[in-house]
């Protein structure tokens, strides 16, 4: 999101600059020819379209916000008794207040998305560096192509793969982890069998967000200034030192942007979580156990069909919370990027 905005802003600036330069051409110097005229018109049309597109996205955002607030509103006005009854029905009697209900869901959402990012990030940066600086030209083109292709796979496919292939095959591995690393509370057993646990979901989400992060960081690394890299090498830096000196600092804000894109996708992911995770309702940091956590998005999808009108309003309210979390994540990413860029 953030880098798209950035690109749009740059494009808009470039366009304005272009328009500014073009203006003297239209001056009554008598040289105005047909070609320039139609160019000016095309310019106006293009500016109109671009501005329209920019406004449209703002309108869409406003409409979504308005929808969430309006639809969630009924859950907070009116009968408190009815609300707590609806929450008890949604949570199977595990919660009666809204924050009590949404708290574990926020925890689960952030935990799973955060773990996915933690696993995907180093690998993605590694792949990107390999493509941009290590792989032979042929291989790097092929790899780039494959990564872009992976980014286009719909999440339901990752979900199917996770639920049907990964879950039965990784059960033994998580069991081994629980037996040998079980003394770390995070990995305390008994491991879920089948492995429909937070660990498995986070792994699938990591695979899912890997291509986006890779794709964006690779583009950034490829733009790192050649001259600085060559200068570093000329001063006797090794390749790793050169990357550390000339490539990574240049790409820092881009890497963060890319991670936030990935995190955003992980936060909102529904199908894969719904298909793989055995949902739970707690603040437990036990990655290998089943039925400890659930994400907001998957919870909405699973509860919606059987919810009554108050229940639907409550689910939309949890959606609003997810919306705010995503907003905060993007905002923080923006802050970090601008600081890093400055």
């Amino acid at each position: 999101m953030a880098d798209v905005d950035q690109a749009m802003k740059e494009a808009a600036m470039a366009k304005e600059a272009g328009a500014g330069r073009r203006t003297p051409d239209r001056d009554p110097a008598g040289q105005a020819q047909g070609g320039t005229h139609s160019g000016a018109r095309a310019d106006r049309i293009f500016r109109f379209c671009a501005r329209g597109a920019g406004i449209l996205i703002l309108l869409a955002l406003a409409a979504v916000t308005l929808f969430l607030i309006l639809k969630a509103f009924p859950a907070f006005i009116g009968d408190g008794g009815q609300r707590s009854k609806a929450i008890e029905s949604l949570s199977g009697g595990r919660a009666s207040g809204f924050w009590q209900y949404v708290g574990p869901l926020v925890f689960g959402t952030v935990l799973i998305a955060g773990l996915a990012l933690l696993m995907a990030f180093p690998v993605a940066v590694g792949i990107a560096l390999f493509i941009s600086h290590y792989a032979p030209a042929r291989l790097s083109t092929a790899l780039s192509y494959v990564v872009d292709l992976l980014a286009a796979i719909p999440s339901v496919v990752y979900g199917l793969w996770g639920a049907l292939v990964l879950v039965p095959h990784i059960t033994g591995f998580w069991g081994w982890v629980a037996r040998h690393l079980g003394w770390i509370p995070l990995f305390a057993g008994p491991a879920a069998a089948p492995a429909r646990s937070v660990a498995t979901v986070a792994l699938v989400l990591a695979v899912m967000i890997l291509p986006i992060i890779t794709s964006v960081t690779r583009d950034i690394f490829l733009q790192a200034p050649r001259l600085q890299q060559e200068a570093a090498l000329a001063l006797g830096a090794t390749k790793w030192e050169m990357i550390r000196l000339a490539v990574l600092p240049f790409g820092r804000s881009g890497i963060i942007s890319a991670s936030m894109l990935g995190l955003g996708r992980a936060l909102g992911e529904t199908m894969a979580v719904l298909m793989i995770l055995s949902p739970g309702f707690s603040y437990a940091l036990r990655l290998l156990r089943p039925s400890t956590s659930q994400t907001i998005a998957a919870n909405i999808a699973s509860q919606f069909p059987e919810a009554d009108s108050t229940g639907v309003a409550l689910l939309v309210a949890t959606g609003l919370v997810l919306f705010i979390i995503t907003f905060l994540v993007n905002y923080m990413a923006r802050r970090i990027t601008t600081k890093a860029g400055a």
Binding site: S89, G92, G93, L160, A163, L164, V165, V167, P168, T171, P190, A192, A193, P194, A195, R196, L274, M275, S278, P279, G280, F281, S282, P290, S291, S302, Q303, P305, E306, D308
Partner: protein
Amino acid sequence: MHSHVFGRSLALFLSMGLVVGPAACGDNTLPSKGGVGGGDQSLSGEFAGSGASSQQSANEAWIAGFRQDHPQTRISYDPSGSGAGVNAFLNGSTIWAGSDAPLSKSQVKQSEAICQGGTAFDLPVYATPIAVAYNLGDAGLNGPDHHLKMEPSTIARIFSGRITNWNDPELARLNPGVTLPDLHITVVHRSDKSGTTKSFVSYLHDAAGSAWPYPVGENWPNDLGQSAKGTAGVVMTMTQAQGTIGYADAAQTTSLGSVAVRVGTKWTPPSAKAAARVLESARRDPEAREPRRVVLDIDHTTGQPGAYPVMLVSYDVACSVYRHDQDRSRARFAKAWLTYVVSAEGQRQAAANAGSAELSEAVRAMVMASVETIEVD
């Protein structure tokens, strides 16, 4: 082994989205009673129902069978879930609803808005045995010929987390001669609200006594083990790992092992026939006093030999007079439809296609008495 599990899981998974079981095939080959171009032409138009997904395959069979006699009708059944189905019915957007739970008092009251001069009533149309199924394939205990024996209280102790290993002495005592593995028991239950859960829990509540400490409800009452969405999800989860145990429609668990529960002095495995035997002795629930309602009270503690008391009874909800029904086409459809559904022929179709238990003569007579009161002229 793996590819078998994979294929089965894939099939189940796909069925989560498009629940078109084997019922969908072969429906059209029913013998037509009216002959070519025959049947009752007086009933025509589009008629919609929605509700319990448990009734889905039975409804497919019924729609095909009903259309043999009423070729001018187009009928749809949306398996949106019991709650959603009853809500749609109470909004007046469907003619009948399928529901795994009888109507609540407030739902009956609400139905005055759509049923003219009266309230809606629920009739049992579909009953199916619920298997307590397990996956001990590596120990050679899966398949339709293997049934571990369990007391109701044993099942309750497993599903409340007090028996946690398959080599527990209690299981060994009940199953002499069977080598039980040293394996952790993973309980698998439904994550969504479900009539199956409610039926299973009320069986434990009635039959297991103090061994089952939880109240009866549509949500699973504890955080034990794993949960999965829908029957297909539960069965898939069970097939994916050894040592799992769960409950699901018996027709869906044939590749797993199923528990033979203690009834009287005998051990009875799940079957449609054994469930039908319990239906024979089912009484009307005295709580449902509103006119025309037929709510069955299943005797979970039956001692009748050959009876299997863990079962789901699903209802159809309808009105005797519909509002906004000047030409009475909705009432005429409801009457004809319910008459067919509870007829011997309709019950046989459901049993053949969905593996359900046929309603007994006595129950069908009670239901027909209510269906007769639907006013069509």
